[in-house]
């Protein structure tokens, strides 16, 4: 066990010095700064709702029989930039379409409408895909995997340490990146909008969203890392993943729709954005049969599916890594 932790420490140190991880972290922070700056520049300052002003406006308007809605609505409408928006604020309810023993579940569908889950999804794909593929691909490219195996020939330990490292590393980069994006919006909220609604619940939601983005990135890094073990090449792994994403996506959505709810990216996306996954269901009506999109799983089930898929990839990785010669 002690040797394993030493091995893990060595892998983590190696990871921390990787240029790819640093570059991605800088890109994530850069995206945050860009989003924050653009949001700041395009956001107008609005007044907070004011009941007294509204009533005064109504009185004044009614005295000359004017259009009170047109004149006074700005005193009750809250047009300010709310920092709480970054977590999403949709009220669309998909619960009715969900086949569930609790047909009247009321939690709202929180789709990719918040900026953090939306950008967090991209961040998770970028960090997970690139870090996983490059961390494993580089070992084969530079032949360093051979050096490590001459020091610790128990391949299961080596691979477990590498999977843990890529999971932890990708998750940390994604979490730091997503928090950077979240905090980049703070100046806009303070100067032109409001931080109203920022309470303990908000912080818990923010941290859990960032945490889910991190977990999604970690799971994707295991999948891309395993593909890099198969291809023994970073670019090969990335091309395979991209090919799957483009060609596989088209094939799944056109010809094998039943497979869509099992897509790892789809499930990881639903998990990090705390949204339901959807699926296509056949319905009949007006003498026709057509496809409708209905709820498939909750975000926790989606997360579990993503975890199961990543685990299946990891198991395949262990089998291949153990059986394959290192040359």
């Amino acid at each position: 066990m002690k040797t394993f932790f030493r091995l893990l420490g060595s892998e983590l140190e190696r990871f921390s010095a990787r240029r790819m991880a640093r570059v991605l972290l800088i890109i994530a922070i850069g995206i945050g700064v860009l989003v924050g700056t653009i949001t700041f520049l395009v956001t107008d300052k609005h007044s907070a709702p004011n009941q007294d002003e509204f009533e005064r406006c109504l009185e004044t308007t009614s005295s000359y029989e004017g259009d009170w809605e047109g004149n006074c609505w700005n005193w009750v409408d809250d047009d300010r930039f709310h920092i709480t928006w970054l977590l999403g604020d949709s009220t669309e309810d998909w619960s009715e379409t969900r086949p569930s023993p609790e047909p009247n579940r009321t939690e709202p569908f929180r789709g990719l409408q918040g900026i953090l889950p939306a950008i967090g999804g991209i961040l998770a794909i970028l960090t997970g895909g690139l870090i996983g593929a490059s961390f494993f691909g580089a070992e084969y490219r530079f032949g360093t995997i051979e050096q490590v195996l001459l020091w610790e020939p128990r391949r299961n330990r080596v691979l477990l340490a590498k999977y843990l490292t890529t999971f932890i590393g990708s998750a940390l980069v994604a979490i730091i990146g997503s928090l950077a994006i979240a905090f980049s919006l703070w100046p806009t909220a303070l100067a032109k909008g409001t931080t109203q609604g920022v309470d303990a619940r908000f912080w818990i939601d923010l941290l859990s969203t960032a945490g889910r983005i991190g977990i999604a990135a970690g799971l994707l890094s295991i999948i891309s890392g395993t593909v890099a073990i198969f291809t023994r090449h970073t670019a090969g792994a990335l091309m395979s993943l991209l090919g799957y994403q483009i060609i596989g996506g088209i094939i799944i959505n056109i010809w094998i729709k039943w497979l869509a709810p099992w897509d790892p990216l789809f499930n990881a996306g639903a998990f990090l954005s705390e949204s339901d996954t959807t699926k296509w269901a056949k319905e009949s009506g007006f003498g026709q049969t057509y496809w409708v999109e209905v709820s498939a799983n909750s975000y926790l089930v989606a997360g579990s599916i993503a975890f199961a898929i990543a685990s299946a990839f990891a198991i395949l990785g262990f089998i291949v890594f153990n059986r394959r010669d290192v040359s």
């Binding site: 530079f142 050096q147 020091w151 020939p153 128990r154």
Partner: protein
């Protein structure tokens, strides 16, 4: 098939064993099999008493190995690369510094590996093999890329390691170096051992058993010596090769002097590893690894 029916035993500790073979003869494949990096399709390998690759964790804890080119993280310093490896076995910083000093990299220890010359990388590779204080060192082309001074240092290092009781298994294409530093040698070709044993024994066994005579009148000398039952062949304008060499070389001097011919030089034709190698591998030395 890279290696076929290769039967190799190294039982005596503290020896420096040379491993030779032309390019593609199966040297590196054999080394990789020994170290558990490749699984042989048939046969068995026992390394320091452990079946490979099943017993790799036991065996490799006592083995330092460098296979082909040293593989390090180019963006890390030499010291950091060694520290990352050493950390797995709990090797302390002080020991790392000692090893770096031993291989002559103390001054370049904090330089990034990508700035190292090939020779420096090679030394770092050797340093990595020494970190575990191994009983057995397996070195694949350790002198590759070294300058002449580096080669001499490497030779000294290998000899010192052998003298200190460690077994060194070294593959090299520098036959002269192998001949100077190794106690035993194994030559393989087409994946099979063609000869093995103590270096001097192998060299002597295949030496030509001839005397080289330097003389003004080679034709007259040839006639006289052939009359006495020797086989004579010309080497250069004033040199002839006489076979078989008599037990006492003075016999040749005596025969020629009796015929009024006086030689200006006489030496025995000694074999060397290069000749043995070329003879055994059908001269495929041009593409040796």
């Amino acid at each position: 098939m890279a290696v076929d029916t290769l039967d190799l035993h190294i039982e005596q500790p503290g020896q420096v064993v040379g491993f030779l073979g032309p390019n593609g003869s199966g040297k590196t494949t054999t080394i990789r099999c020994m170290l558990g990096l490749i699984r042989p399709t048939a046969g068995s390998i026992t390394l320091l008493g452990s079946e490979m690759p099943a017993g790799a964790s036991l065996a490799l804890a006592r083995v330092g190995a460098l296979v082909e080119n040293p593989k390090f993280f180019e963006e890390f310093t030499g010291r950091r690369n060694l520290r990352l490896l050493g950390r797995i076995h709990g090797i302390q910083r002080k020991e790392i510094d000692q090893i770096l000093n031993q291989v002559g990299l103390a001054d370049a220890a904090d330089m990034k590996v990508r700035k190292y010359s090939l020779g420096m990388k090679q030394r770092l590779g050797v340093a990595a093999t020494l970190l575990k204080d191994p009983e057995l060192l397996v070195l694949d082309e350790p002198a590759n890329g070294l300058d002449p001074a580096g080669i001499v240092e490497m030779r000294r290092l290998l000899r010192d390691l052998g003298d200190s009781g460690k077994t060194v298994f070294v593959s090299s294409h520098q036959l002269g170096e192998i001949e100077q530093v190794c106690d035993e040698v194994v030559i393989i070709d087409h994946g099979k051992v063609v000869t093995s044993g103590p270096v001097d024994k192998i060299v002597n066994a295949s030496s030509s058993n001839a005397l080289i005579v330097t003389i003004e009148n080679t034709e007259q000398a040839r006639k006289v010596l052939e009359e006495k039952g020797f086989t004579v062949s010309s080497r250069t304008n004033n040199q002839i090769e006489v076979k078989p060499a008599p037990e006492n070389p003075a016999t040749i001097t005596q025969i020629l002097a009796d015929a009024g011919i006086y030689l200006t030089g006489l030496r025995s034709e000694e074999g060397n590893l290069e000749e043995v190698f070329l003879g055994l591998t059908e001269g495929r030395s041009g593409d040796m690894l």
